[in-house]
Symmetry: C2
Subunit: 199 residues, 2 copies
């Protein structure tokens, strides 16, 4: 039976599809399922707690977190630890206590198109996208598991970059602790050639 | 002299400050400078090219990219390679050719508050935030450098996770190539304890 009243954060299901299109470029199943998971996690955090987010996959789910929580990759409140798991945690940024929401394959018996998606049992071109979104809306939180977690202290708090110097090679500002020249000049960058366009 | 007509993408300077507040939580100097840099990079990409973004810092700049381009961390079009440099590249996602925009310390002579910020010469509590934003608006692109780059072929294209299995320990879906159990069950997660809240 369709869950017509489902909300994802402040969005209706259809509004969230539009928000996903606008931010993520297209309403990928992962961001829609992700929205439902994030919403469940938020509801299980105590009111008023300042939380960070930890996302265990780099695909889709981080964007659901960025749409629905104050945590973004650029403000540092969202971390991605790519364990290849479609799961996220929200946790008190000082104490580390929080909740983890994951997808439970056992609960997917009645939602075969979701199982096909999660386990990549069909090629993307073979997916029935409308049916998949329908099953996601129908399933809602029924396919999720939730657990309390406690983040290891060593991952709490901010990492300072330390003192900043001018790189002797490229002339850009870089963290002095990285060595005599910046990591890019040490060959760690992805680009193989470059040419200045203006001075 | 104040650059009153400066636009950052489709935003006026003040509108972009509001967009930064809304997405990033607060108008951090890094996201505002970052917006100016992203805008410059976009203008230097050929019209109609589908591009990816590479960000060389995890701080602030990724959010400027997510606000102003179609590239997000969750759709995979934005990659963060944390080299500790305040720089970004946009590049043709198939060919790898593109532009890199960086901050040029040599050009900061007339904008001391920007230099103080970039080189962390003042504590955050000592920063004159209004003056800093004023100087950022005044400086605009004057503090940026731009170069053409070519991304190494090995970083182009999508990485497939390969086949997905059920982890024999936790029961979640995980990339089979990671081993007999998922990376989390191999001890790679950040949480030290967990307890299921519902089955």
């Amino acid at each position: 039976m369709k869950n017509k009243k489902m909300m994802i954060g402040r969005y209706s299901f259809d509004e969230f599809i539009d928000a996903a299109k606008s931010f993520h470029g297209y309403p990928a199943p992962g961001i829609i399922v992700g929205g439902i998971m994030v919403d469940l996690a938020i509801e299980n955090m105590p009111e008023g707690v300042l939380y960070n987010a930890l996302c265990e996959t780099a695909s889709c789910l981080p964007d659901a977190i960025q749409l629905l929580t104050p945590c973004t990759i650029g403000n540092g409140w969202l971390s991605i630890l790519n364990l290849g798991l479609f799961a996220l945690s929200l946790y008190d940024k000082h104490e580390g206590k929080g909740v983890r929401v994951f997808l439970d394959p056992v609960k997917m018996e009645y939602y075969p198109e979701i199982k096909n998606w999660l386990f990549k049992l069909k090629l993307k071109t073979e997916q029935d996208k409308d049916l998949l979104l329908e099953q996601i809306e129908e399933a809602g939180r029924n396919i999720c598991g939730i657990q309390t977690i406690s983040i290891d202290n060593k991952y709490l708090g901010k990492n300072s970059k330390g003192a900043i110097s001018v790189c002797a090679k490229c002339g850009e500002a870089y963290p002095q602790r990285d060595g005599a020249v910046c990591l890019s000049c040490q060959g760690k960058s992805w680009y193989i050639s470059s040419e200045n366009m203006q001075e």
